[in-house]
Symmetry: C4
Subunit: 225 residues, 4 copies
Amino acid sequence: MLEGLKIEVYKANQELAKQGLVTLRWGNISARDERTGYIVIKPSRRACVEIKPDDLIVCDMEGKIIEGLHAPSSDLFTHLEIYKAFADVKSVAHTHSKWATVFAQAGKSIPNLGTTHADYFKYDIPVTRTMRPEEIARDYEKNTGKIIAEAFTLKNPLATPAVLVKNHGPFMWGASIMDTVDNAVALEYVAEMAFYTLRLNTDAEMNKYLIDKHTLRKMGGKNGQ
Amino acid sequence: MLEGLKIEVYKANQELAKQGLVTLRWGNISARDERTGYIVIKPSRRACVEIKPDDLIVCDMEGKIIEGLHAPSSDLFTHLEIYKAFADVKSVAHTHSKWATVFAQAGKSIPNLGTTHADYFKYDIPVTRTMRPEEIARDYEKNTGKIIAEAFTLKNPLATPAVLVKNHGPFMWGASIMDTVDNAVALEYVAEMAFYTLRLNTDAEMNKYLIDKHTLRKMGGKNGQ
Amino acid sequence: MLEGLKIEVYKANQELAKQGLVTLRWGNISARDERTGYIVIKPSRRACVEIKPDDLIVCDMEGKIIEGLHAPSSDLFTHLEIYKAFADVKSVAHTHSKWATVFAQAGKSIPNLGTTHADYFKYDIPVTRTMRPEEIARDYEKNTGKIIAEAFTLKNPLATPAVLVKNHGPFMWGASIMDTVDNAVALEYVAEMAFYTLRLNTDAEMNKYLIDKHTLRKMGGKNGQ
Amino acid sequence: MLEGLKIEVYKANQELAKQGLVTLRWGNISARDERTGYIVIKPSRRACVEIKPDDLIVCDMEGKIIEGLHAPSSDLFTHLEIYKAFADVKSVAHTHSKWATVFAQAGKSIPNLGTTHADYFKYDIPVTRTMRPEEIARDYEKNTGKIIAEAFTLKNPLATPAVLVKNHGPFMWGASIMDTVDNAVALEYVAEMAFYTLRLNTDAEMNKYLIDKHTLRKMGGKNGQ
């Protein structure tokens, strides 16, 4: 079932690897089928480049396996919480991409310092709060999703479609699978540039009028360069 | 029309990607036809590696489409202002290459600290001034070109064929398409080296006599190593 | 003899190179045969990518050559000391991978700052003590192995399967050849991230509860993303 | 003439490019023929990856072209001075490899901080003195070679076969073409590691006994890992 969606998710996993965002087995991308509400996700303990479309798992929003021969990614319940909290999100990805993870480990948000950031993310990329011992001990993956949703209270998750889970790494999402991959690429790129920009000029800051301009251009379609 | 020039622009777009200067759809290169004065530029919303020669757009210096099935790059009007201001320029490129963009985001010019810089750029690579709200609200891309021209008032744009647009990224140009690609490669390289050189020695500075020597060598042709 | 193990060691050498962990001839990986107790190791003065399975050397735990046409890696006696000290280790690798070597040269351990680290290494990656002149003058490679074992006194070497030899570089090990390669990849990755995390936030620290959680998840198998 | 040597020099140029040490046309390698004393060098204004064996130039020690259809690299006279000053050197290379050039631009020598450095270079990699205006104005390339020789007064150039020309970039040499390429690779690698090692620990220093040990191991052949 959902063969077309599986092929798209398969290609997106390949693309994450090709873009240098996943190392070993650290990464996964899922998508939500609009008609059934089912989620297609990567199996556990497999590298993005190894899997074939038939290896992908179909499950419902409670995590019940509908189709699939393997266990789903251990991050499944984080993905599900994100889909539940963000109604317009069609795809979710997770990586340990280097620079985004550096900010996550440092517990620092990624500031918006240029148009590359503004073309994809309106605001700073937020970092989640410290998880409490009891949130880690029980339902860890689900609670990871809950603190992600918490970080977007009163914010539009599609205006800034990424988050840094503290001491862990980034999650990205989008209104399509392709947008989600692009957001993963852009996130890593702006994280690295933000790091070095602040080393070069600790007072660097974005022109607020450029943020509005580039956010509006984006609403009219993809970045048009 | 202009089939030969289209093939050259097509190859230059491929080369920008191959040199690691463009990510996703962030980059473009155009060229001016000497006879007609027309500009050949990449279509909007397409990656440099995806386009074919026939996808390229031909337009006049006012931005009127002469030939082409797609919308031109949204940066077209920035390119046109550069061609208008710098008469000897035959090609213009724009990227978000990482290190040049870091300097642009920091609002810092790239200092000339070695012969690699001097072989391509006589002076520091300047950064444009902050854009005013009204320049962003209306004719944003055209005004981006105007503040680039402003940064070269009383300077020879071919002696230092690159600029950093503040909070955005670099534009490069040249007396030929091939020179423009080389300048894009050299810019990114010297930006990275300047960053680290100043971390290693905050007092680092260029031997002024070497600048003159290498500028003169360049006038006699390309870097001859 | 041990043809199957030789093919595995051959592939692991290729994988170290493919993962960008070895430059020129700086690196090697060995494995212990469970039945005979013999070690299969790379010949000396050869790049990981050049060797074929038949080039590999078989020797006993005292370093006596059992089979092989070439001299074994000069690091053989370090490998042997590690096998002697750590009974459950089935494979040992050595590289000069860049970031792990930077920490080794600085004489600093790599702190556990995130789940990427915790998924592979429970504790900080330790650095060995300074070698004494007489340890260097005689039986240098063997003594290198001895100070590695010293760094794990009262510690489980499979809980944190890597070490930094001061002023030299990292050694990694594992309960299988594949684990050892993964540990080499993960070590380099977490070293780089730790470096930048501390630049971004000198007070960065790991959530202790996450360490336990991820260590336990790992015990249940490989990282399941 | 010297067809065998030309093929070796051709391959070495390819290898410099493959190892990521040359960008655009910034780099060259030459070799000295033992019998005739002639030098084989890359033509000017060509990329290392473009040239074929027949494109190489043969010249004598005064720079007179013996065979060749193109102008030799503009760095020829620097190479010749190095061959004249260092009698045992059989090959010379020049690159603008990133990290070595960063140290050259900063005017800082590369300190010996680990065994990777000691396996190739006994001492710190020296940086040349500032060139005087008259040395730049006339016979610039020849004078570059002279200040390189000056930096090795009373030192064995094969014990530390590389130098940083201030505000310019590195030159490397060796007792064979293959050694010279290896030295170029090792130089860039140790330059990068030295930079980061000192950021991690400003007091980092090498164990002097390890320098002697690794220098001696090297005398017995190539690094034997």
